[in-house]
């Protein structure tokens, strides 16, 4: 039997993603990849597979999927309501999606980008060496209703694990470091920037997200005289009218607006997932502090495989309760067979 997932319905901006493509910066192509890379680490840990396995990224809204054979799945990132054949299944966990079963994933309740991982990863075509869709460069396609997504072969059958994700779905404190153009900004502007409460503006895409705020802008001295220079994901770019835009994973490789600083990669996930209108505050840390914070976050992600835990099954979520032997035999209150499920 072919291992595929049939897409019965899908939100407007779902695409196959991975950690993006490296090595093309000198050709004008930024890395791209999943908006919340931490979610990819979590899914890989839950399914006990390679981090490079391609996943389905769902922006805001999930979809309805039918398996053509038994497929292990994991759900991470923005929290969405999910059911398998009508029974609620837990987010940030791995489950078995049996052949002919239907997985329904609803709208995001917290965060923006939810991820569906499959055992073996999606076996979709590669573009320039990897499967991740790079929308701005026109590499890869959005997923549409009726698509049949091939799934790679899977050596494991383990499911029923959960992971406690790092907090990143509600905005909050965002750490950044000074970057190559920070000294073009007055100290007073930098101080004001770190004291301002920003809101995630609805204006944003995979290239950049606008930060909304009240009060004066954050222009630099030589604002209009800067030679176009390297841009990287996480850069906080100040446009002509003094508005900050955070550059995201599909940003251009160069840009002519000055950057006041650069957000740590671990905190860029918070910008990706911050709901519209949520509060964001930028905290300036030294390069040394930033490196330490990022190193700790990377260590947490690489240690996830060890921190996953078996799901404790909840009676209300067991799909075929009637098939369990609940009354016959000796059942000890201290040794409930349901706990072993």
């Amino acid at each position: 039997m072919n291992r595929t997932l049939i897409v019965r319905s899908i939100g407007p901006a779902a695409a196959v993603q991975d950690l993006g493509r490296t090595g093309f910066m000198s050709a004008g192509l930024t890395r791209g990849g999943a908006s919340d890379p931490a979610a990819l680490h979590e899914g890989a840990a839950l399914l006990g597979q390679r981090l490079s396995c391609a996943v389905l990224e769902m922006a805001g809204i999930g979809g309805v999927f039918e398996a053509t054979s038994d497929i292990r799945i994991a759900l991470t990132g923005a929290v969405m309501d999910a059911t398998i054949d009508g029974a609620t299944v837990q987010w940030n966990a791995s489950h078995l999606l049996s052949a002919c079963s239907v997985l329904k994933i609803g709208a995001a309740r917290r965060g923006n980008f939810g991820y569906l991982h499959v055992g073996g990863g999606f076996a979709t075509p590669s573009y320039l060496g990897t499967q991740g869709c790079h929308m701005s460069a026109g590499l890869g396609l959005l997923i549409a209703e009726g698509d049949i997504l091939p799934v790679g072969s899977d050596a494991s059958t383990d499911t029923g694990f959960y992971v406690v994700p790092e907090q990143r779905l509600d905005g909050g404190k965002i750490c950044f470091v000074r970057s190559m153009q920070s000294d073009k900004f007055e100290d007073s502007t930098m101080t004001r920037f770190t004291k301002t409460e920003f809101r995630r503006d609805p204006r944003g895409n995979r290239q950049g997200i606008r930060m909304d705020f009240d009060g004066e802008g954050f222009q630099s001295g030589g604002q209009l005289n800067i030679v176009s220079e390297v841009t990287i994901a996480g850069d906080i770019q100040i446009t002509g009218d003094g508005t900050p835009f955070v550059l995201m994973h599909e940003c251009q490789t160069t840009g002519g607006y000055p950057r006041i600083g650069t957000i740590l990669p671990c905190d860029l996930n918070k910008i990706s997932q911050a709901p519209i209108g949520s509060s964001l505050k930028f905290e300036l840390v030294t390069l040394e502090e930033g490196a330490a914070i990022q190193a700790r976050a990377s260590a947490v992600l690489s240690g996830l495989t060890k921190s996953i835990k078996p799901l404790i099954r909840d009676v209300t979520t067991i799909q075929d309760l009637l098939s369990y032997q609940l009354i016959s035999g000796a059942i000890s209150a201290k040794n409930d067979p349901l706990d072993e499920g």
Binding site: S26, A27, A137, D235
Partner: protein, 253 residues
Amino acid sequence: MMTEKFETQETWPQIKTVGLAGVIVTFSGVLSEPANRAAIAFLAGVRAAEWEEVEESNSTLVSTFLKMDLSVHRPEPIIERLQNLVDSRDWLAAPLPSGRTLWRVPTLFGTDRAPQLAEAAELAGQTIEQAITDLSTTSMRVLTIGFAPGQPYLGTLPDYWNIPRQTKITPNVPAGSLVTAVRQFCLFPYATPTGWRHVGATSFLSFRPKSERPFPLSPGDEMIFDPVTEVEFLKIESSDQSGNGGAQTEMLK
């Protein structure tokens, strides 16, 4: 125009960290031919050194950037090595790389396919005929590849082509569009909004994702935009689907 203060106080080249993503060596605060040449030559020097912490590297208009994870590697050792490399020779006097290509790209200037030629000519104080001569006979160097995949920034035109970007953005110019501002050209790989003025149409695509050579251009290459008639242009458009747009190439010494 950098302010006088900046120009006189700053010394070049400068080595700085870029977030936690790497280190950049900048050869000038303004775009100049020697600084661009230095950035391209310095990139070759960095690549030849094969420092293991460097994940990838590129040159921009006036800088060389080394991508490396500064949460894993401290910047000081690489900055010291970069300073030694900077001091090892006069990079502003470095020659262009070898193996460069000259591209001659058939181009339709003006008409409704490139509707801002007249406006751009007027800003440069030229007649349309003079403008076409300037734009089509100046050999334009690929200063850097960037912004969009494969997209060249090309320079430089004579002084009087130092025309500003538009204050209003043109919502959409098609793939292959030749646009100009600040003595430079950009040649867009796909349809895009732009603040630069649209002066020429080509069928040359600088990003060919399905080709064996997806990014045909390299920094240091030269491009000449040969004028063709509308009839010739339509013929090229309908006969060359490769993305090459009828371009001819020769190797430069």
